[in-house]
Structures are given as C-alpha cells and as structure tokens.
C-alpha cells in the first residue's frame, strides 16, 4: 500500500517544494537539492503541526507574510539543520581536509620553514567536530613531533563546552567513525568512549560569542576554520560582517569549511571557491 494512504499527512507538491527551497536558500544559504524533497517535507511536517496548518502552501505564506514570520524562521532553521553533531560528520569534507587541505598547507609551510598549525572549530557544540579535526591532524602528522599544532574550539553554550571537555561519548556519536580510528583514538569506558589524552590535549576550548565583533577580532593566524551550520543563526548583515572577520582570522593559503550545502554566494566574494570530490571549501589566497 502507498505510504500516504497508510499515514495521511500533508503532501508537498513539486511547486511548493521549489518555493520553500528557494525561500530557505535565500534566507539561510542552505540548499535542498531535488532529491532531498522528502527530507525537507518530513522535517517541515513538524512545523506544520506546531502551527496547526494543514498544508505546506499555508506554511509558505506564514513564512512570507505572517507577523510572526521571523520567529517561525528560527524554528524552521532549527528543524532543517540537524542539530545533533557526530564524529566525522559530512565525510567528503573531512576527506578533503585530510587528503588535500592539510598536506597542501603543511607543504607550503615547510617550504617557508614554519612548523605551526592552528585550526579553529567555530561553534563546536559538544566537541565532536574539534576532536575529529584533532584525530585527522594527528593521523596526518603520523608521529612527527616537530610540529606545534593546536585546535581551538569555541562555542556560546557553557553547557556544551563542559560536556566537550569531558570528552566522553556514547556509541551513537561514533556511528560514522571507522573501526581503526575507534581502536586508535578512543578508549572504551563502560558503555561509553573516551577520547585518548594525546588527542584531547590538542584541543583548547573557549567560550566565544561569534557575533561579538571585538572578541572575534582577537582570533588570528588560523590555517583552517570549520564553521558548519552556524551562519544560519545570523541575519544577513551580521553574517556578512562575521564572514569578513573569518577571512581576517585566516592565514594566507588557509581554508574555511562551512556546512555541507551551505553557501557564501551572496555573503562574500573575498574567498576562492574550491571544489573537492563531494565537498566545497573557501580559500584565502
């Protein structure tokens, strides 16, 4: 039997999908390709319910014209970005970081006789992202001790930061972690996993509000910044200001990764857009 007959929920027509998709892209820079229509529909079904609406067209009108549109937009962003984070999230980005970006930056630095690397996870939540960066970094380093490396991880949530510093995770956070990495970089502790000290010590956590211009200005000299699914929480003006600050935070030759299917197209032209297999990144030349 057709799923829709079993479970009569609202149906998203192709036309409405395009309206909503384009609206979301315009507002947030997050793009839902045609093959992700069902995903969008199922996420937004919750927003329909919360607003007591019977179909997606009405929801679109609410977003466009209702006086509470701004508030709903925030709820919409929350539901379209999976808030949960995990290790090795968006594998093609991590692959690009590991296979191309780090080797390129390190080779350039070695030519100049520099042996320091500074990475930043901006909006690190409970720590999965910065620890992933540190794991990858230590794999690329492959036992070399002569480099001075550090991952700075910042977030606006004290609670998330406390949890990040604990460095203990459940099985679910590790679902995308390859077995050999699990073996080498995690220690089983009961039903949980603890990050090995060697990786834990590479990461330095700090409280930081990314819209605090003066504080962000102090962040300097980074080679790679991960700032994934953060920009959507800023309005256009703040976003533009913040991204141009991120540009200043990077060293020449440095890279910025934003969320998979997030775009800076209308935000900044300062970077070079680099295509990797399955991933985009922004380079400061």
């Amino acid at each position: 039997m057709d799923d829709r007959l079993k479970n009569p929920g609202p149906v998203m027509t192709d036309e409405t999908f395009v309206l909503l998709r384009d609206f979301i892209y315009e507002q947030s820079g997050i793009f839902f390709a045609d093959n992700r229509k069902d995903q969008l529909a199922s996420r937004l079904a919750f927003r329909l319910k919360a607003n007591n609406l019977s179909d997606f067209e009405k929801y679109y009108y609410l977003l466009k014209y209702d006086q509470n549109a701004a508030r709903e937009l925030r709820a919409l962003f929350d539901s379209v970005t999976t808030n949960e984070t995990s290790f090795f999230r968006s594998p093609p980005q991590i692959q690009a970081f590991q296979d191309k970006v780090l080797p390129e930056i390190m080779a350039a630095k070695e030519r100049r006789g520099e042996k320091t690397l500074r990475l930043w996870s901006a909006g690190c939540s409970t720590g999965e992202e910065p620890y992933t960066m540190a794991i990858v970094l230590s794999q690329v380093m492959n036992g070399r001790r002569d480099w001075d490396v550090k991952v700075v991880a910042s977030d606006i949530s004290e609670k998330a930061l406390r949890s990040a510093k604990e460095a203990v995770y459940g099985e679910y956070s590790l679902r995308s972690v390859p077995p050999e990495i699990k073996r080498d970089f995690f220690v089983a502790a009961g039903s949980s996993y603890r990050i090995v000290d060697e990786v834990k010590d590479m990461v330095e956590f700090q409280f930081l509000n990314l819209s605090d211009t003066r504080r962000v200005q102090l962040m300097r000299g980074f080679d790679v910044i991960f700032c994934r699914n953060v920009l959507i929480y800023f309005d256009d003006q703040v976003k533009k200001r913040f991204v141009s600050q991120l540009y200043d935070c990077l060293n020449h030759g440095g890279y910025l990764f934003i969320g998979h299917s997030e775009s800076l197209h209308n935000i900044s032209r300062a970077f070079k857009l680099v295509h990797f297999p399955g991933a985009l990144a922004y380079k400061k030349e």
Binding site: Y25, F31, A33, D34, N35, R36, P92, A96, K100, S261, S263, L264, H265, K272, L273, V274, H275, F276, P277, G278, L280, K283
Partner: protein
C-alpha cells in the same frame, strides 16, 4: 621498440563502430529542413534501435505524464527532437562500446558513470548559462572521454599504468597517459570520432575538452569542460582525476567570460548542490539505457 599507441591504433581493423542510423540522426540534427517525419523514418530503418528508442521514451526516466507513447512520431512530439537524438546516440554508443572484452569492470563502470554524469550536467550547465545548445551538449558530454574506453580496450596495460600513476601522483590522466601511452584520450578519441564521421562539433569537443580556448566550437567545449569538472566534484570521476579545482581559474571559465556569458552572476554553489540531484539520476539513466525494457514495462 614498439611503435607508438596511436600508430598501433590505426592498424587495428576491428575498432568498434556506431550504427549508421545513429550517425545519420546526428547529422540530421543540423539540417535546417529537419522534420519529425524525417527523423522517425530514419530511426525506423533500424527496427531494433527504433524499438529501443520507443521503450526508452516510455521509461520512467523520460516519461512525462501517464500516457504510454505508442509511436516514434509521438515520442518525438512529446520529448522533442533534441531528446530523441540524445536517446538514439546514447543507445548506440552504449551498445557499440559495452559488449566487447570488458577487461576491468570497475573502470568501465566509472567510465559510464562519468560520461552520463557529464552529459546530464552539461545539459544543466547549458540551461543555467542560457547557451541554447539544443541537446548537443548532452551528446558531447556523453562522448567527450570516448578515447579512454578505446585505450582501456586495446591498450589495457598502458592505460592501467596511466591510471595507477595518476592515482599515486595525483596528476591528471591526460598527463599520465602521455607518459605511458605516448598519446592521450583526447587524441585517441579524436581519431575514433573522425573514423566514425561524427559531426564536427563532437570531434572538436572530444579533442579540446581540456583546453576549450583552442576549440573551433569553444562554447560547446567550455560547457562540457565545466560539466566534466562538476561531474568530478559530484564524485563521478573516470580514472583518478580527483584533484581539487577552482572553477573560476579554468580555461573554460575564461572562454565563457570572453564570449559574454554572465559567469560572475552564476551561483556556483547552488549549481553544485543542484548537481547532487543529477548525480542521483546517473545510475537510473544507465540502467534505462542498458535495459530499456524494464522501464518500459512499468505500469504499461
């Protein structure tokens, strides 16, 4: 010492051929007086091909709406001439190049994935840039790397050496092919394209898709080059070409800019994300071409 690959290639007398009807259809596309009737009649001269085209027009990939299309004439009416030419060419190319000694299956798979992805993406890029290439960009994308399949088939060892070298050293295939075969897939493809008597624009794209500024049909070569890059970015690469790239630094980009195409206004990120959906169609397309009965029978 053995003579160079290109010389040895010229001595081979059982190179694959395209059905004459497919070539005729391709050339009909350029005639200003082309009519639906003319194309339908031409395809009908190869009944098995005609049947396959019809089945493909009725497959879930091409089908519009619920109605089964009963005749070629109606299929052309529904899908348009350009699309019928694309279908005919795809079917012919696949049947000419798949059945023979498939030595390394994985490379073959990659090849078809990459070719179809490039064709589909060329169509998308063409639309985005409003180039109005009328479907020719799809055929050009589909065929641009044909030299690779010939190299793989007749000079397998040399080609695999180029493939491995490209992986090990992170260098483009056309460079490593030069090192191991003394030629590259563009030259080999150009040779076969001439032998097949493909339309000039196809010969041109096959030869210049890595350097569109040298092409006689630079617009078409540039569209295919962009599509080629986008296919690789969407993880449909043929061989080991997985190097990162900046689209705006490519020869194709300069060509498009020079020819007045508004590339700066193009939202490249969005185009990249849209390609994801196209990526999902690649397998479906290949399955339909390889096995049009399946799609045709559905709710028939």
């Amino acid at each position: 010492m053995e003579p160079p690959v290109l010389e040895r290639l010229k001595a081979i007398d059982d190179l694959p051929t395209l059905p004459s009807v497919a070539l005729e259809v391709l050339s009909l596309a350029h005639r200003p007086d082309v009519t639906i009737q003319l194309v339908a009649e031409c395809i009908h001269r190869d009944p098995p091909l005609a049947a396959k085209v019809l089945r493909m027009a009725n497959s879930s990939f091409y089908r519009r709406g619920d109605r089964q299309v009963e005749t070629l004439h109606r299929a052309i009416l529904f899908l348009g001439l350009a699309e019928i030419i694309n279908i005919t060419t795809s079917l012919s190319v696949f049947s000419a190049l798949t059945s023979r000694r498939a030595v390394e299956v994985s490379i073959r798979e990659q090849f078809w994935d990459h070719s179809v992805a490039t064709g589909l993406m060329a169509r998308h890029v063409d639309k985005k840039l409003q180039m109005r290439s009328l479907g020719r960009e799809f055929v050009a994308g589909l065929l641009h790397d044909v030299g690779k399949i010939i190299l793989d088939q007749y000079f397998h060892e040399e080609f695999m050496a180029a493939y491995n070298l490209s992986r090990e050293q992170d260098r483009p295939m056309y460079e490593t092919e030069m090192a191991t075969c003394g030629t590259n897939h563009m030259e080999v493809g150009y040779y076969i394209a001439r032998k097949w008597n493909l339309p000039p624009y196809l010969q041109d794209v096959i030869l210049w898709h890595h350097k569109p500024s040298r092409a006689a049909f630079p617009d078409m070569a540039a569209v295919v080059s962009v599509a080629d890059h986008m296919a690789r970015a969407a993880q449909f690469s043929c061989g080991a070409d997985t190097m990162p790239f900046v689209l705006a630094d490519q020869d194709a980009w300069a060509v498009l800019k020079e020819r007045g195409v508004d590339v700066n206004g193009l939202d490249v990120e969005r185009m990249t994300f849209e390609m994801e959906a196209i990526g999902h169609q690649v397998k479906e397309y290949i399955e339909t071409v390889m096995n049009p009965e399946e799609g045709g029978r559905r709710d028939g």
